[in-house]
């Protein structure tokens, strides 16, 4: 019995690791521009198809396929910023415009994919021929280990970038107070472009990993909702909070699926999230993030 729960915990953590990648990309944009970027889901969908082409059609090895997808994601992120948000920044538009623009773009991307590929499901060729490692009675998937390791490396690199580099300082300055950051000599449009490219690369990697773990359809990107929940639990805009929230969400999902089944588990998780937010509206990380007026 204990073994069973250990197994579920492992499954939950590795599911949470993918959510963490989504949540961090999402939180990054929120911390800099103070809006919830639902177009992130559109990027994830696009990246999943790109990942399908790289890994299955072109038969690239997994590492190369992931790198290429990350690159596509980064480029898409920059394009997204220019088509959806650049003019809003220039005109100092209210927050709600960003929100609407992001949802619109997310839907647009997914529908373009539907037009191109139909609603048929695509499957990415498994990354590993023999995916299973057995330790006693515990089953660990190589794919899960890879996802965990990749997530850890990526997030560590991101933390280093934010806390140790000049670009990171600029990013933090803009996220705290954009006007004052500009007065210190920060070129905010460069910072915003870099932020979108990082978030896009993270969306790209989460896209191919989700595609490899599940099957690909144009609406795979709606998984961004998981990232959203995770970053709300963690405290909007906080990167460490988003990671913790994501792992927590992954574990809860797996455990509730086992306990009450597939249908009831999302409902229970939503209710628990609501109760949690009633008690602690600022999320785990504990800072209130004020939305831009």
């Amino acid at each position: 019995m204990v073994l069973f729960y250990v197994q579920q915990l492992i499954n939950g953590v590795s599911r949470g690791a993918v959510y963490a990648l989504i949540a961090v990309g999402f939180a990054l944009i929120f911390s800099v521009l103070k809006f919830s970027n639902f177009a992130h889901g559109g990027l994830i969908s696009v990246a999943a198809y790109a990942g399908y082409y790289f890994s299955t059609k072109f038969d690239f090895p997994p590492v190369i396929a992931i790198l290429c997808t990350a690159l596509i994601g980064a480029v898409m992120g920059i394009i997204l910023n220019y088509i959806a948000f650049y003019n809003l920044q220039r005109r100092n538009s209210p927050n709600i415009f960003y929100f609407v623009s992001s949802i619109t773009c997310g839907i647009l991307f997914m529908n373009i994919l539907t037009l191109m590929f139909g609603t048929t499901f695509y499957a990415i060729k498994p990354f590993f021929k023999n995916n299973i490692i057995k330790i006693g009675n515990l089953i660990i998937l190589k794919m899960d280990i890879m996802i965990l390791a990749l997530t850890f490396v990526l997030l560590a690199a991101l933390m280093l970038l934010i806390n140790r580099t000049k670009m990171g300082l600029a990013l933090r300055m803009v996220s705290i107070d954009k006007d004052t950051a500009m007065l210190m000599g920060v070129n905010s449009s460069v910072v915003i472009t870099v932020t979108f490219s990082i978030a896009g690369a993270l969306a790209g990697i989460s896209g191919i990993l989700l595609g490899a773990n599940f099957t690909i359809d144009p609406f795979l990107g709606n998984m961004v909702v998981k990232g959203f929940i995770a970053s709300v639990i963690g405290g909007l805009g906080s990167l460490p909070g988003a990671i913790i929230g994501a792992i927590l969400l992954g574990v809860m999902e797996v455990i509730f699926t086992v306990l009450v089944g597939d249908i009831l588990s999302p409902a229970i998780i939503f209710v628990m999230t609501l109760i949690f937010l009633l008690i602690r509206p600022q999320g785990i990380s504990g800072h209130f993030v004020t939305e831009k007026a």
Binding site: I176, D179, A181, M182, L183, N187
Partner: protein
């Protein structure tokens, strides 16, 4: 050094500045006094590039001022905004590093931080504290120190004495003089008219976005109209 010509700015239908012109000389303290909502902060925001004026030109060292704020900072103009606007979630030291954002060399940044600690010993004591935990006076000192980190030629100070205890106000004005002694030109916006005028080489009075009076600090200090409107008549000492 800085010449502002016929500057006009509106927020929607509200006129913030109309036809504002003045010239700041190298090495002086130039004060802009006026009541709340007179357009003082809008004027500074135009100069630092945060808002675009609708009409008028600004020349800096004989050339048109660059358009974007980061280029204006790079050109040597630094703006200490109203309400200090320090980066509260960063430490004091990180705030100072932020001020030297355009400086490449790490050792140069460290040297400049030490330089600021000499002027503001209090900041050294608190270097690893989050800036948001400082007192109002300390935050103002940090905001000024942060601005000096870029070694500006012209510093724009927006209401540096606002909301501070009298003793701290005195200290702030002492530092403004110190900044000028180091060869930095100071453009000072203040509600505390008496202090601002007694420091100033030249000054203007801004009222509803229009320049009402121009003169040397001394002239305005002794001007009957200014006395009555801004200095509190009968309380001169």
């Amino acid at each position: 050094m800085l010449s502002v010509n016929n500057l006009s700015l509106s927020y929607g239908k509200n006129r913030a500045l109309s036809n504002v012109s003045f010239e700041v000389q190298q090495g002086e303290i130039f004060s802009i006094i006026g009541a709340n909502g007179a357009g003082k902060s809008s004027l500074l925001r135009c100069i630092s590039g945060l808002v675009k004026p609708m009409e008028g030109t600004i020349y800096y060292e004989g050339k048109p001022l660059p358009k974007e704020p980061h280029k204006i900072t790079a050109a040597g103009i630094v703006h200490v905004p109203e309400g200090r606007r320090i980066f509260a979630p960063l430490t004091v030291k990180e705030n100072l590093k932020a001020g030297a954002f355009l400086v490449k060399s790490r050792s140069e940044i460290e040297a400049r931080i030490e330089e600021q600690y000499k002027i503001f010993p209090r900041l050294k004591e608190r270097e690893n504290q989050y800036a948001g935990t400082l007192s109002g006076g300390e935050q103002q000192m940090l905001a000024i120190a942060r601005a000096l980190m870029s070694r500006p030629k012209l510093i724009l100070l927006d209401e540096p004495s606002l909301g501070l205890a009298p003793l701290v106000v005195k200290e702030v004005f002492r530092i403004i003089e110190l900044i000028r002694e180091q060869g930095v030109t100071v453009l000072l916006v203040e509600q505390n008219a008496k202090k601002a005028l007694s420091l100033a080489d030249h000054a203007v009075v801004l009222e509803n976005g229009i320049i009402r009076k121009t003169g040397t600090g001394k002239e305005l200090l002794n001007d009957q109209v200014v006395k009555e409107a801004y200095l509190g008549a009968g309380h001169s000492d």
